[in-house]
């Protein structure tokens, strides 16, 4: 799992005893919200973090064909700040890692054809998660 240096900007606590929160963080000059449980961050700190996500179903055809503009971008949904539309380049397949610009996201191990490396793809994160290294 790739590790990143992030700046914790804001913590919106859902629960502090079994610590659960939504976190606003900054990476590469861009700010994102992510879900965090268990959450051991403090506002204002700069820390090593890792990312994971819960996938939302997209069709196979959308995954391979939707990123025609060859973008590397993570676009937040209007209705849910931890939900993102993701555009990126397939960097590796074992595991599947997608370069989405500010963040590389690891996406299991479900592609066997190495010729697909370098393809531009589209997927949806139902929830981006952040954790402290």
């Amino acid at each position: 799992m790739e590790e990143y240096i992030v700046s914790i900007k804001e913590i919106d606590w859902l629960d502090k005893e079994n610590p659960e929160a939504e976190i606003l963080f900054e990476i590469s000059g861009k700010q994102f919200w992510a879900f965090c449980h268990p959450c051991y961050f403090k506002e204002g700190e700069i820390v090593e973090a890792y990312f994971s996500f819960i996938e939302e179903e997209v069709s196979e055809s959308a995954f391979w064909a939707e990123n025609k503009e060859q973008k590397k971008e993570v676009v937040p949904s209007d209705s849910n700040r931890c939900h993102y539309y993701c555009y990126g380049e397939l960097k590796s397949i074992h595991p599947v890692v997608i370069d989405c610009g500010a963040i590389d996201l690891s996406f299991g191990d479900w592609i066997n054809d190495e010729r697909m490396i370098g393809s531009y793809v589209y997927f949806v994160m139902a929830r981006l998660d952040i954790g402290r290294v």
Binding site: M1, L14, D15, E17, N18, E20, F35, H37, P38, S52, F53, I54, E55, E56, E57, V58, E60, N80, V96, F107, G108, D109, W110, F123, A126, R127, D129, G131
Partner: protein, 123 residues
């Protein structure tokens, strides 16, 4: 092992009329969220649970009932202080679990949301 703990939040959280006692895993009693916290967590997580389980309708009662089912039938994680149970596989092979976090010494539900196998430390 069965033991009972007084539910200090009974007045606020007794939205289903269950008994004012709760029990740890192994009992048959119904555990609740603290205060009004169920509503907030339902608002945050219900949509995702519906998508993972393929349900077209889902309400607060379903949410708390499902959390109790996981407590009764799931696996305990001491690292996360909660119970988890497999729910479904995502289209790209991601194994998705329902996770119910606990607090107040295991007498109160703190959360119910989806986690992946990796997030649970299972792979």
């Amino acid at each position: 092992m069965l033991f009972f703990v007084a539910n200090v939040n009974a007045a606020k959280s007794d939205f289903f009329g269950e008994r004012d006692v709760v029990a740890a895993k192994g009992g048959t009693q119904f555990l609740k969220f603290g205060g009004d916290e169920a509503v907030e967590h339902f608002g945050k997580h219900a949509d995702q649970i519906m998508k993972v389980t393929g349900q077209s309708a889902y309400n607060l009662k379903n949410y708390v009932n499902d959390a109790n089912w996981i407590i009764q039938n799931g696996t305990y994680s001491s690292k996360l202080n909660g119970y988890y149970s497999f729910m479904a596989n995502g289209s790209k092979g991601q194994s998705l679990f329902g996770f119910v976090g606990m607090k107040n010494g295991g007498s109160t539900i703190s959360t119910f949301h989806i986690k992946s196998a990796a997030q649970l430390g299972l792979k």
